[in-house]
Amino acid sequence: MVTAKGLPWILRVNDLYVEFWTHDGVARPVNGLTLQVGKGQSVGVVGESGCGKSVTALSVLRILPKAARISGGKIELQLRDGSTRDLTQLSTNSNEMRRIRGGEIAMIFQEPMTAFSPVHTIGNQLCEAILLHTDCDEKEAKERSVESLRSVGIPEPHVRIDEYPFQFSGGMRQRAMIAMALVCNPRILIADEPTTALDVTVQAQVLQLIKQMQSQIGLALYLITHDLGVIAQMVDYVYVMYLGCIVEEGGVDDIFETPLHPYTRDLMRSIPTVSGERKPLSTIGGVVPNAYSIPSGCSFHTRCKDMQGEVCRSERPAPRRFGESHRVSCVLYEDAAR
């Protein structure tokens, strides 16, 4: 099977369910989510805060918090040797899973300020990754770390490598984070809102860097964001996520030019206008239901401007295909589907 753009797939998440067992009950942040990432493809996942974007990414790496468990579905990864593994079947701390983390799939996070240990040098934390995934000795690992810091544009890497994270600026830290993620040549990079915590000019530089690294080493990018501007700039294929499922997917052009799902259209309306005015995503009407009580049927029906009545409340709409790669899950398009 190939992805919509004709690329062979490398990561395939199929009908994934994740539950959190907490004192307040069971939260279900991921509900039957399906998505694919092609080799070297850049894919964006967009959705409001709390819709399960991060939880999905953590599930893929099998680093969910203790309270969470994957209660259904498959996460298939194509390994370098061409074989396939269902990551949900591996145990979190197994050697194989640990080889995949960092070795096959790497991840960078939103908060460059807290993502490094404050009491270990940057070099120590970079070398750790190299020593884990390669046969390098300490000296080679250090050389490689310096090289990778240089490649992400950190000046004087041989000096900075012995510095602590608090001696780095936010932007530099995120660069170092990218260096650490890529230092073991992974094939997929999951970037969870990599620029949200940075100021605007630095944001552009970091995005530019990710893009450049991606094309240099043929990496697949799985970019999580709630900023549609970033999506437009960075990816070819978009998944629109609402309460743990994909409600619409398609090429960037499809999504931006002909958004179909009422939720996607609401999201589009919240894009900053030319005048620079920027409304937060939460300007979509109604309250976001929480993961403890996901609405029945189409989970968006509580806030949908095009509610069709009972059917939306009771039936979960299946994805319909529009054109080559555009899919939407909404009753509005039940008959129009081609």
Partner: protein
């Protein structure tokens, strides 16, 4: 790091000055100067006071001179190790204190090590296995240790040791070594008797440390850098020890700093109950008898020890937390 230690040493000077002044005030506190008290005591016991000796003493201690001169006389002798005379014992304070102080420091130090060695694994286990039976058990025992006064633990342990194990308790030395001079055999004999006071003095500190470590670690385990390290593929056990435990150690080390005074005062009470030849009982009796040179000397030395302890723990803190040494 060297600069940090140097700066830290500089701040020590005013602290030591204040401590010495306070100790001096303690010495001066009772009405009348100590010399007249001394003469009175001698007179009461029927000893004749030699006028020449009296004069010599008066000159030596700068009696009748302004306060600050007396202070300087006193402190310059203290620096050379002369703490004055104890009238209770009629001996130089230094002779009385020396060995006892060493024992107090030794017991407190052993208690500190004991509480760290016990608290460390239990605290980590409790946090990593939060809400497990082991965690609940550790918390329960910890609270018990925290809320039981030291003397109570001392009495119970003494009872158990004597009644059920037939051990001789009380004191630090077996009868044959009490008056013996220091030797390897005497030292080992002391080690044999040490466990009881060490456990007693260390218990409440251990309970505090377990709770501190557990809570810190629970906080740290939630942090983003833990997720980052997991995402790199670090093994869970190695990860816990390298990152969150290391971070949780930081407040742990700073707790150790203010644990010292607690240990020493805990040691004093315990020493009274167990009749240990350490500083506790002596200080208590010195205070009761208004034996002011003895009491003042004690207070001075204990306070200085405390300051040194805090300094050591600060240096340790800077070693585990780079952010402190770069400030």
């Amino acid at each position: 790091m060297a600069r940090f230690v140097f700066r830290r040493l500089l701040t020590l000077i005013p602290t030591l000055l204040v401590i010495s002044i306070i100790s001096f005030i303690v010495i001066q506190l009772p009405p009348g100067d100590w010399l007249s008290t001394y003469v009175m005591q001698l007179a009461q016991s029927g000893t004749l006071v030699d006028q020449a000796e009296l004069l010599a003493l008066e000159r030596r201690y700068a009696m009748g001179q302004p306060m600050h001169i007396q202070y300087f006389r006193w402190i310059s002798r203290v620096v050379r190790g002369d703490f004055g005379m104890s009238f209770e014992y009629g001996q130089p304070v230094r002779e009385l204190i020396q060995e006892r102080l060493l024992l107090t420091v030794f017991i407190s130090f052993c208690s500190l090590i004991f509480s760290w060695v016990v608290a460390f694994p239990i605290g980590i286990y409790s946090a990593v296995k939060q809400h497990s039976m082991g965690d609940y058990a550790a918390t329960f025992v910890g609270f018990l240790g925290l809320s039981t006064p030291n003397f109570m633990i001392a009495l119970v342990l003494m009872y158990v040791a004597m009644q059920h194990f037939g051990l001789s308790v009380g004191g630090l030395f077996s009868p044959e070594y009490v008056r013996a001079p220091w030797s390897a055999a005497r030292f080992f004999d002391m080690l044999k008797n040490l466990w009881l006071p060490v456990i007693i003095v260390g218990t409440s500190g251990t309970a505090t440390l377990i709770r501190v470590l557990r809570n810190n670690l629970l906080d740290e385990l939630q942090k983003q850098y833990v997720v980052t390290a997991r995402a790199k593929g670090v093994h869970a056990v190695r990860l816990t020890l390298k990152y969150p435990v290391r971070m949780a150690l930081i407040p742990f080390v700073s707790v150790a700093g203010w644990q010292l005074p607690e240990l020493v005062s805990g040691e004093m009470i315990t020493a009274v109950v167990l009749s240990l030849p350490t500083t506790g009982p002596l200080l208590l009796s010195a205070l009761l008898a208004q034996d002011m040179y003895l009491a003042g000397g004690f207070i001075l030395l204990l306070a200085v020890l405390m300051v040194i302890g805090t300094l050591l723990s600060d240096i340790l803190l800077a070693l585990v937390d780079p952010r402190i040494r770069y400030e």
